[in-house]
Structures are given as structure tokens and as C-alpha cells.
């Protein structure tokens, strides 16, 4: 009886989907505009129905007293393997990296395990949305792909991957050829390459190898365009090809390419290539923002910065090189979001952003990099990313600055459904606290 009472008490604070919830007297930080102190926010049918200084309590609505609390939109992590990778070192639990150089037909979404423990773990830290990336990451094999497949934009809650879906084709992942290997991490620092032209990754041979790879990429795009033409001509001998079908939204400019390009040279190559191909791109995990920033800004290309808490690339790089990347991107006027790119760091996303603030990024811009910027970059700016009337009710009610580690999340809503703030780790904690 007592136990039942406890369970009931716990259940009382969690509202079911579709329920009408009015948050009152809270400080509302919409991100898209100025904060509203002591305001109200109404959740109805999974959406934000209204925001205002005072909202009359609708009939049947549950009222959530928000005095002293703040409301923010849920966080968006723009680079994860959520649902695709459970345990980094165990191949059988990894579905990130497939074989094959050109695999645009692969979709991350349908390989997402909705019951992955990672979702519960990251949710309680306010991550309501994530990009799940095919290719790279973990030890999933197939890391050397050129086109790795389609990244999914998904909610971190749902019974099935269909329910979690925001967009199964949010972006096509491309590991851009570079002297330091596809995607362009590591290798010899560019400023030294001229000095040691005979070293791997430097000199004329390496450049030829890069150009050869880009030629292969161009050939694939040429084939995709030829396919589109043949399809449109509706010839009787036309055969449907799943690879090229998947490429149609890319060459039509409807679906961006998420392009892994780290160093300035690779970023420059990728921009020039995209312009020639007339395709939309998002640069993933760039490191040389100070050098590449002007061009990215001029061409209006957004970026997803990798972990802020990361070691400098070279021995003589500034010690705070990683910490200052977001501030550099901001100064250059580049639109950017943040990604953690490793499942175990996803829950630290807000703290990574806070580090960027410590090293020069304005606080408001850090909030945007976790909310409205990624929503817009991934084509969901009208659905998520800010607290605005008509958007999905993905939001958190917190007791302080949401990027401060001391702050606790009191309530979390995804699509208007209140999420129970528990997970496997919290259950283990409670269980072993009770051990005498």
C-alpha cells in the first residue's frame, strides 16, 4: 500500500502526451527573443500553444508552478551515434560504419534502437533532439567511406524510430577527401607540409591523390545527374537504382551534405567543390576556423563544431585552441551548432558550450548553438529550437543557468509529453544507496 502510494506520488508530476499543461510564473527564455520574466507557457496537443505574461488556465489543464524556475528549449546535439552504437568497443553493438565507398541509400534512422540506454541517459540532461550519423565514430568498421549515408534528425524519446523521427533524411554524410585522409583529421600540420614534401600527407603526390579522390566523387555526381535525366525522360529501358534515387534530393539542392572536413585546405576544397556541384553543404568538425572563417561566412556555409573540450591539434597550438573555436566562429560571423560526436559525451553538451563561453563566446550565442542554430541548419527551424507559438513543445524547466553543471532539470517535455527524469543509472544509484 505504502509502495503504491509512493509510485502514485511519483506519477502525479508526470503528465501524459496530449495533455494540456500550463507553466506559470516562470522566467521564459525563448532563445528566439528576449526573456520573459514571470511569464506563462501553455502546452497543448504536443505544441506550444501560447506564451504570455498571463494565460488563463484552460479547462482541464494541469498547472505547473514555475516560480524561481526557468524554461528553455531542449538541447540539440548535431553529431552523435545515438541509437546506432551502444558500447564503443564491441563491434556487435555498432551500426555506424557500413562498407562501400558510395552508399547514399543507407539511412541511419531505421537502425536506431529506441531502447538504447543512451537515450535515457542523455534525455535527463535536456538533450531532446540529436543528429544520428552514419559512418565514422566508434569501432563500427567501414570508416573509410566517401558517402556514408543519410543522417537522421530525431527526438530522444519514442516507442519506435518512426515516432522518434523528425527527418530521416536530414543530411547526406560525405567524408571529404583530404591529404590527411578522408574527413581530414590528423596528418602533418599544413604549415609544415611545404618543408617535408616527401612525407605522407604532404607534397605533390598527396595532392594528386586528393584530386584523384575528388574526381571519383565528381564522377559519382555526374552519374547521379545522368540518372536524374534518364528518369525524367521516362525511357522504357529505365531501371530504378536505389543509390541514385537517394542522390536526387542532394543534387536538387533539397538535402544538404554534412561534409567532414577538418583543416583549412580541406574546407576550402569542399567549398569550391560544392559551388561547382551546386549543392548545399554543412561543414562538420572543422578545426581551422580562424583560417577558414572568412570563406565560410562569405559563402554562407554553416558548420557543426566538434567537442570544445578537446586537445589542441599540434604540439605548438595554443593550449586553449579547442576552447576558442566557437568564439572564433562567432567572430567570423559563421553560423554554427555544436556536436559531441561520441555518445558518452552527449550529456555534457551544455557544459561544452559553457566552456566556449568562458573562452569568449557570448552566452546567448552558446544557447543558440544548442537550439535554434542546429534546428535551422537541419531544416527544422519551424518545428523546434526555440520557444515560439506553434513549435513542438520540446522544453525543459530548470532551476538555474542550464549550462551550469550545478543546475538541475525539474521537468522535461518532448513533443508536449513530460519525460520521467529517470534512467538505468539513476535506478542503479537508488538501488545501491539502499544497500545496508
Amino acid at each position: 500500500m505504502k509502495l503504491l502510494g509512493l509510485l502514485m506520488a511519483g506519477a502525479v508530476t508526470v503528465f501524459a502526451a496530449g495533455e494540456t499543461v500550463l507553466i506559470q510564473n516562470a522566467d521564459i527564455y525563448p532563445v528566439s527573443g528576449a526573456p520573459l520574466k514571470g511569464g506563462s507557457l501553455l502546452i497543448q496537443d504536443g505544441k506550444i500553444a501560447e506564451i504570455g505574461a498571463r494565460i488563463a488556465v484552460p479547462k482541464g489543464a494541469t498547472v505547473l508552478e514555475g516560480k524561481g524556475l526557468r524554461v528553455y528549449p531542449g538541447w540539440i546535439d548535431s553529431g552523435t551515434q545515438l541509437g546506432l552504437e551502444e558500447i564503443g568497443s564491441i563491434r556487435e553493438t555498432n551500426d555506424t560504419g557500413e562498407l562501400g565507398d558510395f552508399m547514399p541509400q543507407l539511412k541511419a534512422l531505421s537502425a536506431v534502437n529506441p531502447d538504447s540506454e543512451h537515450f535515457g541517459v542523455v534525455r535527463v540532461n535536456g538533450i531532446t533532439t540529436a543528429i544520428a550519423l552514419p559512418g565514422g565514430g566508434g569501432r563500427g568498421g567501414g570508416g573509410g567511406q566517401m558517402i556514408a549515408g543519410q543522417a537522421a534528425l530525431l527526438h530522444t524519446d519514442g516507442w519506435t524510430w518512426e515516432e522518434m523521427e523528425i527527418n530521416r533524411s536530414a543530411a547526406m554524410v560525405l567524408n571529404f577527401p583530404s591529404a590527411a585522409g578522408r574527413g581530414g583529421r590528423g596528418g602533418m600540420p599544413p604549415d609544415l607540409q611545404d618543408l617535408f614534401p616527401n612525407t605522407a600527407g604532404a607534397g605533390a603526390d598527396a595532392r594528386r591523390a586528393v584530386l584523384d579522390q575528388i574526381a571519383k566523387l565528381n564522377a559519382f555526381f555526374d552519374d547521379a545527374r545522368a540518372y536524374k535525366k534518364a528518369k525524367e525522360a521516362n525511357q522504357p529501358d529505365f531501371h530504378k537504382d536505389l543509390k541514385f534515387e537517394a542522390m536526387l534530393p542532394v543534387i536538387e539542392g533539397k538535402m544538404p551534405l554534412a561534409v567532414n572536413a577538418s583543416r583549412a585546405a580541406a574546407i576550402h576544397d569542399a567549398i569550391a567543390w560544392a559551388e561547382k556541384q551546386n549543392v548545399k553543404i554543412v561543414i562538420m568538425q572543422p578545426r581551422d576556423i580562424a583560417k577558414a572563417g572568412a570563406e565560410l561566412k562569405a559563402k554562407n556555409i554553416p558548420v557543426v563544431l566538434g567537442r570544445v573540450l578537446t586537445l589542441p591539434e599540434n604540439e605548438d597550438s595554443e593550449y586553449d585552441e579547442g576552447y576558442t573555436q566557437p568564439a572564433e566562429a562567432y567572430k567570423a560571423g559563421v553560423k554554427f551548432a555544436l556536436g559531441t560526436f561520441t555518445n558518452e559525451f552527449v550529456r555534457d553538451l551544455p557544459y561544452q558550450a559553457a566552456t566556449a563561453v568562458a573562452y569568449g563566446l557570448p552566452h546567448d550565442e552558446a544557447l543558440k548553438a544548442l537550439t535554434i542554430n542546429p534546428a535551422q541548419i537541419w531544416g527544422a527551424g519551424d518545428l523546434i529550437g526555440s520557444l515560439d507559438k506553434g513549435k513542438l513543445a520540446d522544453l525543459m524547466v530548470v532551476d538555474g543557468d542550464p549550462m551550469d553543471v550545478r543546475t538541475q532539470i525539474r521537468h522535461l517535455f518532448i513533443k508536449g509529453k513530460e519525460i520521467t527524469l529517470s534512467n538505468k543509472q539513476i535506478r542503479l544509484y537508488e538501488r545501491y544507496m539502499s544497500r545496508q
Binding site: 563561453v357 568562458a358 544497500r435
Partner: protein, 449 residues
């Protein structure tokens, strides 16, 4: 040297920088003075005085720290930086003869980066390929000094043990990460947790016999006899020191079963485990760890990177603390090492530790675990002036390190670092240009062709 001392004596004093006062800071002492707003006086490399009001020694440099936070230097109980030439002597499963002291690389840039993250002392250990690994020791991050000058004087040396997946990997060369394509690799005992236990018990079986030989010899010597000394065995010598409580045992571990196994193996052989390292499932056997008297040095929130990390919880540090175990948070990683302060902050989030309890996990607690708490780990009169100044609440990610002192000497200054960057870049460019202009025309032939 208080204010009344004649100025002539002040002029003769050593460098003025050696005596300084940090004033108006929020001082988080981790000592009896708790947290207060005031000053800390540093003299001859030691903390001379602290309090809301202090006597300013004549000639002392004043460092104004209004709005800033001062904490004791951060201590990392588990690091692998500053080693050269590899840290895993993987060929044998008992490698107690090897010593970190022999491979310290004082030029490792990770030392400076750790320093810039507020770390002043780090326990440097071997890897985890061996059930019984090599000999360890703490270093002070005295960047610019020699390897010998970095060694923490007077610290009790340690030894690394390892349980679980890593030490059994060499026993599974095809299935483990040790496999290299089709190359046949000889499996090396042990291959299971059972084997790891046996390796440790066998080693101490030998060590006890070895110790008995030496004890008999020492006894005869004490009686004035002239016995023939036993043969020195460098491998068993280190374990003999463990049995004599002269060397601390730091055990890499993950799962509750192996932690309990280690406690019982130590009990049976008459030695103590000083710390369990990583100890991600320590929360499941908190009672047994507490009873044994071991400390726990864990990660704040790492998990799921391997199967033995699947039940890791971010509440581990808080739960173990609540159950009476002394807990530290370590890095095991050159990157994480740079922000252990915010790892401590996570203990406030996950499990509700107080500011003092959380900060203790990267200052006084690791000092206790390493047996160096008499000289470092808190801001108290007489202790080493290892201090870190932050521009905000030090366990929040919004704060950054502005200055770091070790033994009263400033080793990091962010303002200076930022100011000098342009000159450093220019110097590098100059060197590159010089090198390019001096180069002979390159041929396309590679050296080995």
C-alpha cells in the same frame, strides 16, 4: 618579515615574487578555514598565513583577486602523461620491476596543458596490460624543470595493479584488440578474471617467501652475525615493499566482482589496497571498500565505452562518499586532465555533493590517497603554496584558470600566455621561412627507394 622590519633588510630579501599576498579572493581552502573571502600570504614557497585580514609582509607583492576564486592546486590521482617510450610493459603479466621514474619526459606538452587546467600534482602510472604493473610516483607539474626536479619529494611510491578486461587481453590475442591481422600472436597468461586473480596470488606467494628470506637475513644481521645476503629480485622487491606498507597499491578495476576479489586477495596476503582506480562499479561494493580502508579514484561520468563500463553511473563518486569512502576524481587522459575542476562540479549535480565535498575530490582527497596530504591538497599554513586562481566559481565550466603557482612559483599566467601568442606565432613563421629558404631543391626520390 612583517611591516616593521627595516627596509634595508627587505632590499636584501630574495626575489620579491617569493613573498606575495593574494587578496580579496574567495578562498576555498579544503582545510579548517573552509571557504572565506580574504587573503593568502605566500612566503618561501609555503603558505604563511591566510584569513579575512592578514599582516602583509614588507616587500610582498600584492595580487589583487577581487571577484576571483582561489583553490588548492588540483591533484590528478591517475595520469599517463610525461612518459616516453610507452607505458605498457605487456610482455609479462607481472612487471613490478619496471619504474615510471626511468621514463619521465619533462618536455611532454601535456604537462603544460595540465598546468593550464590547474593541475599541480599528478600520479603517473603504467598502463593496465599487466595484472601487476610497474612502479609509480607522483610528479609536480614544474614545467621547464628536469625530470628529477619534477618528482614529488618524499612521496610514498606506488605500484599499479590491473583487473578485468585489460590484463586478460594478452591472453586473448585473436579476440582481443591485440590481434594484428593474420599474424599469429602467442597468447600470454592470463586470459580470464580467474587467471588475473591467480597471477596476483602467485606473485604474493613468491613475494612472501622472498620477504621471509630477507627477514631472516636482517634478523641475523641485527644479532651481529655475518650472513650471506639473499639474491636481490627486482620484481619481488617491489612486492616486498607492498607487504611492508612502504609502497601503495593502486588497482585499475571496473566490476564489483573483481574489486571484491582484490580485497580478499589482499586480506589473505596481508596487505592493503591504497586506492581502487576507475572503480566504476565501486558503488556496488562500497561497504567492502570502506571496510578494507581503500580509497576510490573514479571518473565522473564516463561509461559505455566497453562492456565492463556498462553499469557505470555518474553517482559513483557521491554514493561512495556517502558510504564513507575517500573519493577522488581522476583523468586517465591528457584532455580530461585539463578540466578536473568541472569533473568535481559533476559530483554536485549527480548526488548532491556540497561545494567542499566536490572540490575535495580533486584536491585534498587525492592528496590523502597518495599520502601527500601533509604538504599539499589544501590551503593551510605550512603547506606548499600550490594554488590556482579562477575567474569564476571554479567547478563551473564558465570559469577559467588565470594563474597557477607551484611551491610559490608562478608556472602559468593566462594574461601572459595570451599576450605572448602573437610574438610566438611570428617567431614560428620566421623559423619556417628561414628553413624554407635554406632548403636544397627536393628530389622526388624517397630515402628508402
Amino acid at each position: 618579515m612583517k611591516k616593521l622590519i627595516p627596509s634595508i633588510l627587505v632590499a636584501l630579501a630574495p626575489l620579491a615574487a617569493e613573498t606575495f599576498v593574494i587578496q580579496n579572493a574567495t578562498v576555498m581552502t579544503e582545510g579548517p578555514k573552509g571557504i572565506f573571502k580574504g587573503s593568502v600570504v605566500v612566503k618561501d614557497g609555503k603558505i604563511a598565513d591566510l584569513g579575512e585580514k592578514v599582516m602583509v609582509p614588507a616587500g610582498a607583492t600584492i595580487i589583487e583577486a577581487g571577484g576571483l576564486y582561489l583553490i588548492p592546486g588540483i591533484i590528478d590521482c591517475h595520469s599517463h602523461i610525461a612518459g616516453s617510450g610507452g607505458i605498457n610493459e605487456g610482455s609479462v603479466s607481472v612487471s613490478s620491476m619496471v619504474n615510471i621514474k626511468d621514463i619521465i619526459n619533462p618536455d611532454d606538452i601535456s604537462i603544460y596543458r595540465a598546468l593550464a587546467g590547474g593541475v599541480t600534482t599528478a600520479n603517473i602510472l603504467h598502463g593496465s596490460a599487466n595484472s601487476i604493473g610497474g612502479q609509480t610516483l607522483p610528479l609536480k607539474m614544474r614545467w621547464g624543470k628536469s625530470a628529477e626536479e619534477m618528482i614529488f619529494a618524499g612521496a610514498t611510491p606506488g605500484i599499479k595493479f590491473a583487473l578485468g578486461e585489460n590484463p586478460k587481453r594478452a591472453g586473448n590475442p585473436q579476440g582481443g584488440r591485440g590481434a594484428i591481422g593474420a599474424i599469429q600472436i602467442q597468447a600470454r597468461y592470463p586470459a580470464t578474471r580467474m587467471g588475473v586473480e591467480d597471477v596476483i596470488r602467485e606473485a604474493f606467494n613468491d613475494a612472501k617467501a622472498y620477504k621471509a628470506e630477507w627477514d631472516a637475513y636482517d634478523a641475523k644481521l641485527a644479532k651481529g652475525e655475518h650472513p650471506i645476503p639473499p639474491r636481490t629480485d627486482l620484481k619481488l622487491q617491489a612486492l616486498k615493499e607492498v607487504l611492508e606498507n612502504k609502497r601503495y597499491v593502486h588497482v585499475h578495476c571496473y566490476r564489483a566482482d573483481e574489486i571484491l576479489m582484490m580485497i580478499r586477495a589482499a586480506d589473505d596476503n596481508g596487505f592493503k589496497v591504497r586506492t581502487f582506480q576507475h572503480v566504476l562499479e565501486g558503488y556496488k561494493v562500497a561497504k567492502e571498500i570502506k571496510e578494507h580502508g581503500a580509497g576510490a579514484s573514479t571518473f565522473s561520468d564516463w561509461w559505455a565505452y566497453k562492456i565492463e563500463a556498462i553499469d557505470a553511473i555518474p553517482f559513483n563518486a557521491a554514493l561512495l562518499t556517502k558510504k564513507g569512502v575517500i573519493v577522488s576524481l581522476n583523468s586517465d587522459d591528457a584532455e580530461l586532465m585539463r578540466h578536473l575542476n568541472t569533473e568535481a562540479g559533476k559530483a554536485m549535480k549527480y548526488g548532491g555533493m556540497s561545494e567542499t565535498e566536490a572540490l575535495a575530490m580533486v584536491t585534498i582527497n587525492p592528496a590523502i590517497q597518495l599520502g601527500i596530504d601533509k604538504t599539499v591538497g589544501s590551503i593551510e599554513p605550512g603547506k606548499d603554496a600550490d594554488l590556482v586562481l579562477y575567474d569564476g566559481f571554479p567547478m563551473s565550466d564558465f570559469a577559467k584558470v588565470t594563474k597557477v603557482w607551484i611551491d610559490g612559483t608562478q608556472y602559468f599566467d593566462r594574461d601572459k600566455e595570451v599576450a605572448e601568442q602573437a610574438a610566438k606565432d611570428a617567431e614560428k613563421q620566421q623559423l619556417l621561412d628561414k628553413e624554407k629558404s635554406a632548403q636544397r631543391p627536393q628530389t622526388n626520390r624517397r630515402p628508402n627507394q
